[in-house]
Symmetry: C2
Subunit: 412 residues, 2 copies
């Protein structure tokens, strides 16, 4: 079955928003083994929408629209689908009741205008929306499938996952299973070279590499009529890759570097504190994105000025004056001091030059020192990162998290 | 003139990347007064590309493709354009020389495969690419314009700005000017209500509202044959809006809340330090995104644990025990203490419950206290933010930046 995704909304054509719905649905359809051959974006214009649906019907088996299900005059998707199919809209009483109930839960009567959201093309069925008022639609006409989803991602995504994925799986003979390995410390080209033998002529499962900022993801996708056969296929390839990459694989699927480090700290019942200069709070902020970070994360100091490094952390003023704020020696003291003043098991420090200015020949923009203090030792690592200010900050925090991971893994 | 943007690339249909080129070009075309009626995405498949170009030719005056100009077999855009137009490709010697020169600058001979990039449809002209090997194309056939741009944004954007914008401006009679007002402290619906009289029946300039996370942007767009007439039109509407919104307008165009606060601090030669709990380093990180933040930003403490609040900041342990870590009293002391230990003009504190757990009936998830200490006073503000953990953290830091802005403006 091949699919076309039609996003409806003038705001997309003005460039006010980007078509993330198209991307999301494409990713998910591809993981279900369904081909997507076209994306189309049209504005809130009935004639052009009807035309786009007719063109899609001529070339796709599954036509999925997003957006245009709201209650105002601008919201024309259902009318467009109905016109393209040559059917009328009719009131769906169940949907009307759900919309009214939703308003009454918020203690308000349903505005008359919202009744329009309960109309659906004759021959389609409404799909409940648990996160908004607009129901979705599924209809089958002339052996083609028409699906309409709301535009806001927080309504579209749960509806797609909970209602559309099970429906599409029923329509497909094959099971598709995917497994993602997350890799750090080795670039995409080097990875491709290392995995050359495993990847060559590999067709089921397929192996795909995705370069992310500072890491690479490897997606293994198997297709089979039997789910455990698909799992076995994935496992075999996964083990081959792990043999080659070892410690460079930091996690799987939904794991993030932050969550992996946090889990390791909690397993080993260790606490941590960060002293950051050039990254300006970014590593603390990334780490505390994780809901239960407070179990292991005690304290962070963003010692942006030399005064802060001396007065708050307790770094020796002489060290900074002699070696500079961006130096192996200062990074070492920062890591030692943050561990000491925070009374944690581990202290981690970052000092560097994020740019765009401030670089010299011997200390270029992008140079960062990362220090880690634990037990009675302090290790310092140096790197030079390429990119603009924000990319350098991101890569430095990513590298620091990976240094943490590798060191914690070695701690008994 | 109406335009269609065709993005070429299987990676878009797999959902590996999102069509940011479509968004970027749409924004720019709209600011030039050109309408975009369709976006299309097709994969690296010649037949489907030719068909898509033919469909676009039947409904648009300007057809812009992105992607598919590389040297490999997958790169089929120029062939697709040529086939759709019924012309042949021919070698462009100037482009070939540029490609060879580019390789020789890197001390390498041009691989034979790259010669393909110098072929263009007969009747088109090549557009130099200053950031890569693939030249772009402009051609006029049957009073329609065909433009092909490379896929990587770092090549596409400069080419679009430097080569395509001047070309399209020549083709258009009108000047389009836009001006954006950035608004905080008032939601989209309330804003719409307040601006009702100004917005009703307003056609030139047009006024459009864009809700962002924690703020709203108002874009005023004027169209005129004369540039200073367009400027005057914008100015008139802008002044009307400023009269209604006053202090809620924090900046214009490229201003960010961070840059506005940073500029105010530098104007008044004031220094600042942050003490954050629930936001975990995010306000420090946002503030230090600005290249010259180090002039005003001295220090940040991410006092995640109570121990850190007491030991590093110097908050009274009794205050935390009596009122809780999330309380007006703790926020007040945090702001006072961070100012004192950092020896800055201003100390700002944030303490709250970012969730998803940790809320109670009297202190729900989303509750945040923001304290600001300056001169001899400390003010504390409380808010309850809605959303997931990350949204609450974002809204809390946004609110804190706005509190800073409003207070600094009042300081003599």
């Amino acid at each position: 079955m091949n699919c076309e995704i039609i996003a409806v909304g003038t705001e997309l054509l003005l460039g006010d928003i980007v078509n993330t719905n198209g991307q999301y649905i494409s990713q998910r359809l591809s993981s279900l083994g369904l081909d997507v051959y076209h994306h189309t974006v049209v504005g809130d214009n009935l004639d052009r929408l009807v035309e786009a649906i007719k063109i899609a019907s001529s070339r796709a088996d599954v036509i999925i629209t997003t957006g245009g299900l709201g209650p105002t005059d601008d919201d024309i998707t259902k009318l467009g689908v109905a016109k393209a199919l040559g059917v009328e809209l009719s009131l769906d009483e169940t949907s009307l009741k759900r919309i009214k109930d939703r308003f009454s839960r918020y203690g308000r009567p349903m505005p008359a205008i919202n009744e329009r959201q309960a109309y659906i093309p004759i021959g389609s069925r409404a799909i409940d929306n648990d996160n908004g008022t607009a129901p979705g639609i599924i209809g089958e006409y002339d052996s083609k499938i028409y699906i309409s989803l709301p535009g806001p991602p927080k309504e579209m995504r749960p509806m797609f996952e909970e209602k559309i994925v099970p429906y599409l799986k029923q329509k497909s003979k094959h099971v598709i299973k995917s497994h993602t390995l997350k890799v750090i410390g080795i670039g995409e080209s080097a990875l491709q070279e290392k995995l050359g033998d495993i990847m060559t002529n590999q067709t089921n499962p397929t192996i795909a590499l995705y370069a992310k900022e500072g890491e690479v993801h490897i997606r293994i996708t198997a297709k089979d009529e039997d789910i455990s056969e698909a799992d076995d296929k994935i496992k075999e390839v996964k083990n081959k890759i792990l043999n080659v990459l070892g410690m460079n694989v930091y996690g799987y699927n939904d794991d993030t570097l932050e969550s992996v480090v946090n889990n390791l700290l909690q397993e080993k019942r260790m606490t941590i504190a960060f002293a950051e200069s050039c990254t300006g709070g970014m590593i603390s902020s990334r780490f505390t994105d994780i809901p239960n970070a407070s179990i292991s994360f005690i304290n962070g100091v963003v010692c942006y000025s030399n005064e802060a490094k001396v007065n708050i952390l307790g770094v020796n003023r002489d060290t900074i004056e002699k070696y500079g704020a961006v130096s192996m020696e200062t990074a070492e003291e920062m890591a030692y001091c943050i561990k000491k003043i925070s009374n944690t098991d581990i202290g981690l420090s970052i000092t560097g030059i994020a740019g765009p200015s401030g670089g010299t020949e011997s200390k270029p923009v992008g140079l960062c020192y990362i220090g880690i203090a634990f037990d009675d030792q302090v290790k310092v690592y140096s790197s030079v990162f390429n990119g603009n200010r924000n990319k350098i900050r991101w890569l430095a925090t990513t590298k620091a998290l990976d240094i943490l991971r590798r060191n914690i893994l070695e701690i008994k």
